[in-house]
Symmetry: C2
Subunit: 407 residues, 2 copies
Amino acid sequence: MAKIAMKFGGTSVADLDRIRNVAQLVKKEVDRGHQVAVVVSAMSGETNKLVGYINALSPHYDPREYDTVVAAGEQVTCGLLALALGAIGIPARSFLGWQIPIQTSAMHASARIEDIPPENLDACLASGKVAVVAGFQGVAEDNRVSTLGRGGSDTSAVAVAAAMKADRCDIYTDVDGVYTTDPRIASKARRMEKIAFEEMLEMASLGAKVLQTRSVEIAMQHRVPVRVLSTFDPDAGGTLLCDEEDIVEKKPVTGIAYSRDEAKISLMKIPDHPGIAAAIFGPLANAGINVDMIVQNISEDGKRTDLTFTCPRTELPRALKALEEAAPAIGYREITSDANVAKISIIGIGMRTHPGVAQTMFRTLSEKGINISVISTSEIKVSVLIAEEYVELAVRALHSAYELDVA
Amino acid sequence: MAKIAMKFGGTSVADLDRIRNVAQLVKKEVDRGHQVAVVVSAMSGETNKLVGYINALSPHYDPREYDTVVAAGEQVTCGLLALALGAIGIPARSFLGWQIPIQTSAMHASARIEDIPPENLDACLASGKVAVVAGFQGVAEDNRVSTLGRGGSDTSAVAVAAAMKADRCDIYTDVDGVYTTDPRIASKARRMEKIAFEEMLEMASLGAKVLQTRSVEIAMQHRVPVRVLSTFDPDAGGTLLCDEEDIVEKKPVTGIAYSRDEAKISLMKIPDHPGIAAAIFGPLANAGINVDMIVQNISEDGKRTDLTFTCPRTELPRALKALEEAAPAIGYREITSDANVAKISIIGIGMRTHPGVAQTMFRTLSEKGINISVISTSEIKVSVLIAEEYVELAVRALHSAYELDVA
C-alpha cells in the first residue's frame, strides 16, 4: 500500500464525462490498495469566466473578494468529483481550503502555502475514504479565502502530497509530460523521461507552463517524487521529477524555455557613482515591481553610463511612472522602453561541468541574425533577451544546436 | 441611523448590470446614514445548473457534497456584489456562511439555522463597511458547508437581521409585495400593504412562494419588521410584515393560497380500535414522510372505517411502499391513492372573530361544482383538498367571494 496524491487540471475536469473519467483513474489507484488524495482545478473556462465578471465590475478590485469569487470554481469540481466517486462505489469526501486547513499568507490572489496540518487529511484516508481537495485555494490568517495564483492547483497538490507524506504526486494534465521545449513551436521537441528538480524549477520560472514554479520548490524541499502525465493517455509514460543523482546521462542542456511576458527599460547617461542602483531600484521595489535581468554598460568616461533591465510586460506602465517620479533623484538623461522583447533560456544541470555551453547559444543566435540585448546566467541556465519576433526561430535553432531534436 | 438588512433574490442578481443596480440600491441606504448588511442569492439559473450536474453524476447523492457544490453560487454573487460596491465607493466585505459563522443543524440540504454569533457582523458594520452575506448557506457542526433548502436566502436574511438587531429587513424580489393570491392565476389579486406575521406564516406554509416559511417563523419569533418589495420598482410600496396589533382593519380572510404539491392516500376498511392511528402513521414517520391533512370517517358499524390523508406528491411512492410493508399490522382491505389533487387555503386573523367564514368557502366551491375531499382548519385558516384541475377556478371564485378583488 502506498499513499498517492493525484492532481487533475481544468481540461481534465472540463465536463461531467471527464469528471467520470477522472473518477475511474482514481478508482484504479484505490483498487490497487493505495490511499489517495485528489486535488482538482476548476472546470476549464470557469476561472476565466469569473475573472471576466470581476474585471467588468471592478478594474481595481479588492484581491480578497477576487479570491472569494474565483475559489468557487474549485469548490464545485471537488464536490462533483466526490459525488462521481461515490456513484462508482468509492467512498470520498471533499475538502475546501479552509476545511483542511491549507494555511496561506494573506497575499491574496498570489498567496503562499505556509502550512497544511495533516490531521484532517490523515483521518479521512485512515477511514478508507478518498480525500478530494479543492486546488488553488486556501485560507489566510485573516480567515478569508485565498488563492495561489495561476497554476496554483499544482502547488496545492504537491503541498498536500508533502503534508500526507505521499509516496508520489501524480500531476495529470493535457500533455503527456515535460518536453525539452514547447512542442507547439518546435515540432521536434522530445518528452523527457526524467528531469532534476533544479532543472524543472528553472524551466517553470523561465516560462515553461507545465507546472507552477512554487510547486517545484515544495517538491524539491520535501523530496516529493512528482510525475507529470496525461489524463487522456495515462500510460504514455510521463515525466518524473527526481533528484539530480537519479539522472544518469547529464546533457549540458536539457531544456529550452521562453517567455513573452517581458519588457525592457533603458536609462541613458545616468551618473556612474555608488548608490545609483539603489536610487533606481528602490522606487521600483516600493511600487512592487519585479525587476529581472539587469545590465550596466561600462562607463566610457567614468562619469556617465547606461543601464538596462527587464520587468513583466504588464508592469511596464507602472515602472515607467515610478522612474519618472524618481527622475530628479536618479538624474538620467533619457528613458526608453520596449515591450516587444522575449526571454530565451537554456537549462541543464550538466552545464556545471561542460564548459562553452553559453558560447554555443550566442553563436547559434548570431548565425540566425538575432541580436542579444541582455544576458543573465546562473549555475544551470543562461537567459538572453531578444526581439519577440524571433522567439520561434531562436527556440528551434537552439533545440537543434544542443542536440535535443527527436531522432 | 438605523440598522438594515437587505436581501436580493436570484433574478435581482442575474447578471452584472443587475448586480450594479443592487449596489446602487444598497448605496442609497448607506447614503442615508444606515448600517447595512446585504444577503444575496445565486445568479438565477446557477443553482439549477449545479443541481443538474449533481443529479447527472449521482442520483443518490451525499447531501454534504450537494451542499458543497450548490453553495458555490452564493459565494460568487456575494464576492461580486462586494466588488460592485467597492467600485462605486462603498466599502464592503463578503461573508461566507462559515466565516460569520451561520451555524446550522447537520440536516444537509435542508439545514436549520441554530445560531448566528453577531460579533463578526457587528465588527464589520462598526468599521463602516457593508456586510455582504452569502445567502442559503451555513456551516454545520461537522464543519461542512450546509444549505437551507429552496428559498433559504430569505431565512438567511431574516436570521442575519435578528442577529444584528436590525431595525428592518427588506426582502427585494421580482414582485412588488405579497398579494392576496397568486396574480398569475387571479388577475384581480391585490397587493397587501400589511400582513400579520401569523398570516404570512400560513400563506408561506400553505403554498405562497414569496417567502420561505422558516424565514417568517424567525421574523415572528424575533419581531423583525420585514418588508417585501420589488428590486426593479423599489418605490412601488411593497408589503410590511408586522404584528397583528398594527393592522387596523381585520378582514375575515386576507389571502388565498394553493399548493399543487399534494397527494392523497385512502385506506379502506381499517379496524376501528385504539392504536390504529399509531399503526398507520408510525411507519410513515419512520420513513420520514410528512403527513399533512387527515380525515377519518365515522365508523358505520363500530368495527371498520376508512382513513384518508395527504402527503407531498414527491413522497407518494415511498409512502405507499411503507404502508404496503405495514399492511399486516394495520389490517386494511384496500389502499387507493391520487396524485392529481391540490390544496386551497383561506387565511386571515379576522377569522377568529368572524363566524361563518368556512361556510362561505364551502358554499362557493359547491356552487362551482367543486368537490371537497378533505378539510383541515386552524384558528386562522381553512384548507380543503380538491381535484387539481379546479385550482384556478377555485382560487378566483374564493377571491371574489371574500371581497378581495381589486376595485
